[in-house]
C-alpha cells in the first residue's frame, strides 16, 4: 500500500515546519514539499520532491509501497546522469543501474530510489561533457578531472542521509556494490542492516561494456592502472558472471 492522501497531507504539514542544524560538514537540510503518484513502466510508484538549503537542485525520492517508519527498506542512491538516464549513453551504465533499481524496488513490498540531481558527481553537465571532450582527445587524468571540478561525494551522502531521515526510514538494505557508500551513510547516522549487490541484467548491447567494466581492477582505475574519469556508475556485477 502506498501513502494515502491523508498520510501525504500529514507528511507535508510536518515537513513545512521542519528545521534542523543540517547534516554533514556542509550542514545540508532538505524538506519534502510535494508527494505525487507516479505510475511508470517499472511499477506503480509515488514520487517525493525535496527542497534543499544549499542550492537550487531539486532532488526526488521514488517510493514503492510505504517505506515510512519501516525497517529493512531496500534503497538505491542514484545520481542524475542526463546522458545515461535520458539519452541512453553507453559511456556509462547509469541508465542500466537506474532501471535495475526501479525494477528491484517494484519487486519488493516497500522500497526507495533516491534520485539526486547531481549531474556528473556534482560537477554539472557542462563539466562532465568537457571531461568527455578531453577523453575523446586522449586526455584522462586525475589532474584534469580535478580541474574540471570532480570532487568528493560528501554532500551527496549528506543529502541522501537527510532524505532518508525525512522519509522516516528506520533502517535500510542498501543496493550498492560500493562499500564506501555504506561507510559514508553509516557515518552520517543511517542504519544499514545489509548491503545488497546491485546486479545488472546484461543484454546483447551492453554485455561487453559491463563485463569489461567489471573486470577492471579498481573503482577509478582502468585496465592499465591509469586513473580514469570517475563516472557515476559503480563496480558492476553482472548476472551470470563471476563477481
Amino acid at each position: 500500500m502506498s501513502l494515502t492522501p491523508e498520510q501525504i497531507d500529514a507528511v507535508l504539514e510536518a515537513e513545512a515546519g521542519h528545521e534542523c542544524p543540517g547534516v554533514g560538514e556542509g550542514r545540508v537540510c532538505v524538506k519534502i514539499v510535494s508527494i505525487a503518484e507516479l505510475p511508470s513502466r517499472f511499477g506503480r510508484f509515488q514520487v517525493a520532491a525535496f527542497w534543499n538549503n544549499r542550492d537550487g537542485k531539486e532532488h526526488v525520492a521514488i517510493l514503492h509501497g510505504n517505506p515510512m517508519g519501516r525497517e529493512n527498506v531496500p534503497v538505491r542512491v542514484h545520481s542524475e546522469c542526463l546522458t545515461g538516464d535520458a539519452l541512453g549513453s553507453l559511456r556509462c551504465d547509469c541508465r542500466d543501474q537506474l532501471e535495475a533499481a526501479l525494477r528491484t524496488i517494484a519487486s519488493h513490498e516497500h522500497g526507495l530510489v533516491l534520485y539526486l540531481r547531481q549531474e556528473g558527481r556534482g560537477i554539472g553537465l557542462l563539466n562532465k561533457l568537457r571531461a568527455y571532450h578531453l577523453q575523446d582527445r586522449g586526455l584522462d587524468t586525475v589532474e584534469a578531472n580535478l580541474a574540471l571540478g570532480f570532487r568528493d561525494d560528501e554532500r551527496e551522502y549528506s543529502i541522501a542521509a537527510h532524505m532518508l531521515h525525512s522519509l522516516k526510514v528506520k533502517s535500510i538494505r542498501l543496493l550498492t556494490n560500493n562499500p564506501r557508500k555504506v561507510d559514508e551513510l553509516a557515518r552520517l547516522g543511517v542504519k544499514i542492516v545489509a548491503r545488497e549487490p546491485h546486479i545488472l541484467p546484461p543484454n546483447e548491447f551492453n554485455r561487453f561494456y559491463l563485463e569489461t567494466k567489471r573486470d577492471k581492477s579498481g573503482h577509478f582505475l582502468d585496465a592499465l592502472g591509469k586513473a580514469h574519469l570517475p563516472e557515476q556508475g559503480e563496480p558492476v556485477q553482472v548476472e551470470g558472471g563471476a563477481a
Partner: protein
C-alpha cells in the same frame, strides 16, 4: 638564494600565490614582464590622474577576499560603485550586481589592490621569460626548471607557476623542449579556458564638460560593450575621463586594425547613444587587451599542478582556474595553488 618557487606573472593570481606561499614558509620570486604589477587589474596615469583601463571596479563575496580588498583600498574608496548603471546590456560579470556581492572602487585606482598584495614580495619587473626548460643538472639530482630571461640571465627553481591567461600559458608549455609527458596533458585542459579580447579607449574631456548622469553604461548592442565614467571614482575636482570598452566580437575582428580607426568608431557610437559631447574628447589613448577576460562558464574549478619525472613541479592558476572567475576567482586560485605547492614541498621534505 635559489627560490622554492618562481611565479611568472604579477597579476592578481600570481601575487596572491606568492603571498600565501611566502606566508607558509616558502621562498618565492615573482617575475613580471611589464613595468608594474597587477596585470589586467590596471591603472595608468593620464595627466597625473589615475584611470582604470582594465578592470573598472573590484567586487567579491567571500569574507576573506573582501577583508583583503578593504585593507588594500583604504578609506578613500567608493563603496558599491558603480551607483548609476544605464543601458540594457549585461556586465562582464553579472555576479557583481547580485545580492551578497560587495563592489569597491579605490580612489587611487584598482591597481591599489595588486600593489597591496605585492608589498614585501620579491617582484622583478621588466623580467620577460623567453623560454622554460627542465634540466637534470648534477646527474640524477632532482629535476629543476631553467627560466631563460630576455636579459640573458638564467634562473633555476624546482617549481614554476605560470599565472598568465590559460592560452598564453599553453603556448609557453608547448615550447618546453622535449615536451615532457606531464605537460602535454595540460595543453587540451588549458584550451578549455576561452579568453576574450577587448579594445579600450581612454578619453579625456575639457574642464567645462558637465559630468554625465551615469557611472557605467551597458549599451547591450552595437560594438561598445561598456562605457565607464572613470573620473566618478576619483576625488572631487578630477578631470572628466571616460573609458570605452568594445565587445569581444568587434575587438577580435579589429585586433590588427589601426587604433585610430577603432577608437573613432567607439567614440562615435558612444556619442550617438549617450551624448554628442562624447565624440569630442580633448585627447585619447588606446589600449589593446588581447586576453581581457575569461568567457563566463569556461573557467576550470581549481588550479592545476603537474609533477614531472625528476620532481620538477609546474602550476597554473588565474581567473580561468576558479569558478568565480574575475579578480576574486584569480585571488582564490592563487591561494589554492600556494596551498598545493606548500603541501607537496612538505611531503617532499
Amino acid at each position: 638564494m635559489t627560490p622554492d618557487l618562481v611565479v611568472v606573472g604579477a597579476g592578481i593570481s600570481g601575487l596572491a600565490l606568492a603571498r600565501e606561499f611566502r606566508a607558509g614558509g616558502g621562498r618565492v620570486l615573482v617575475l613580471e614582464r611589464a613595468r608594474g604589477v597587477g596585470g589586467r587589474c590596471a591603472t595608468r596615469r593620464v595627466d597625473g590622474q589615475p584611470v582604470d583601463h582594465g578592470t573598472a571596479f573590484l567586487h567579491g563575496r567571500d569574507p576573506a577576499f573582501l577583508a583583503e580588498l578593504g585593507a588594500a583600498a583604504g578609506p578613500a574608496a567608493s563603496p558599491d560603485w558603480p551607483h548609476v548603471l544605464a543601458g540594457p546590456g549585461t556586465p562582464c560579470r553579472p555576479a557583481a550586481f547580485e545580492a551578497g556581492s560587495v563592489r569597491l572602487a579605490p580612489a587611487a585606482g584598482v591597481s591599489a589592490f595588486p600593489k597591496h598584495l605585492a608589498r614585501g614580495l620579491d617582484v622583478r619587473l621588466g623580467a620577460n621569460v623567453e623560454s622554460l626548460r627542465v634540466s637534470r643538472a648534477g646527474g640524477g639530482a632532482a629535476g629543476n626548471w631553467e627560466l631563460a630571461l630576455s636579459t640573458g640571465e638564467t634562473l633555476r627553481s624546482p617549481a614554476v607557476a605560470l599565472t598568465l591567461p590559460a592560452p598564453s600559458a599553453a603556448a609557453m608549455l608547448e615550447h618546453v623542449p622535449g615536451r615532457p609527458a606531464g605537460l602535454a596533458a595540460l595543453l587540451p585542459l588549458c584550451r578549455l579556458v576561452r579568453t576574450l579580447p577587448c579594445l579600450t579607449v581612454i578619453a579625456r574631456y575639457p574642464e567645462a564638460t558637465p559630468p554625465p548622469g551615469w557611472d557605467v553604461v551597458l549599451p547591450g548592442s552595437g560594438i561598445l560593450h561598456t562605457l565607464v565614467h572613470d573620473s566618478a571614482k576619483r576625488r572631487p575636482g578630477a578631470q572628466l575621463v571616460l573609458v570605452l570598452q568594445a565587445n569581444p566580437r568587434y575587438s577580435r575582428e579589429h585586433l590588427d586594425s589601426p587604433k585610430d580607426s577603432w577608437s573613432r568608431a567607439l567614440l562615435e557610437e558612444a556619442a550617438a547613444g549617450s551624448g554628442a559631447w562624447i565624440a569630442l574628447p580633448e585627447d585619447t589613448q588606446a589600449h589593446t587587451w588581447e586576453q581581457a577576460r575569461v568567457s563566463e562558464g569556461s573557467e576550470l574549478a581549481r588550479p592545476v599542478v603537474a609533477e614531472l619525472e625528476g620532481g620538477a613541479r609546474l602550476g597554473l592558476c588565474g581567473d580561468g582556474f576558479h569558478p568565480a572567475g574575475g579578480v576574486e576567482g584569480a585571488w582564490h586560485s592563487g591561494r589554492a595553488l600556494a596551498a598545493r605547492f606548500l603541501d607537496r614541498m612538505r611531503r617532499a621534505g
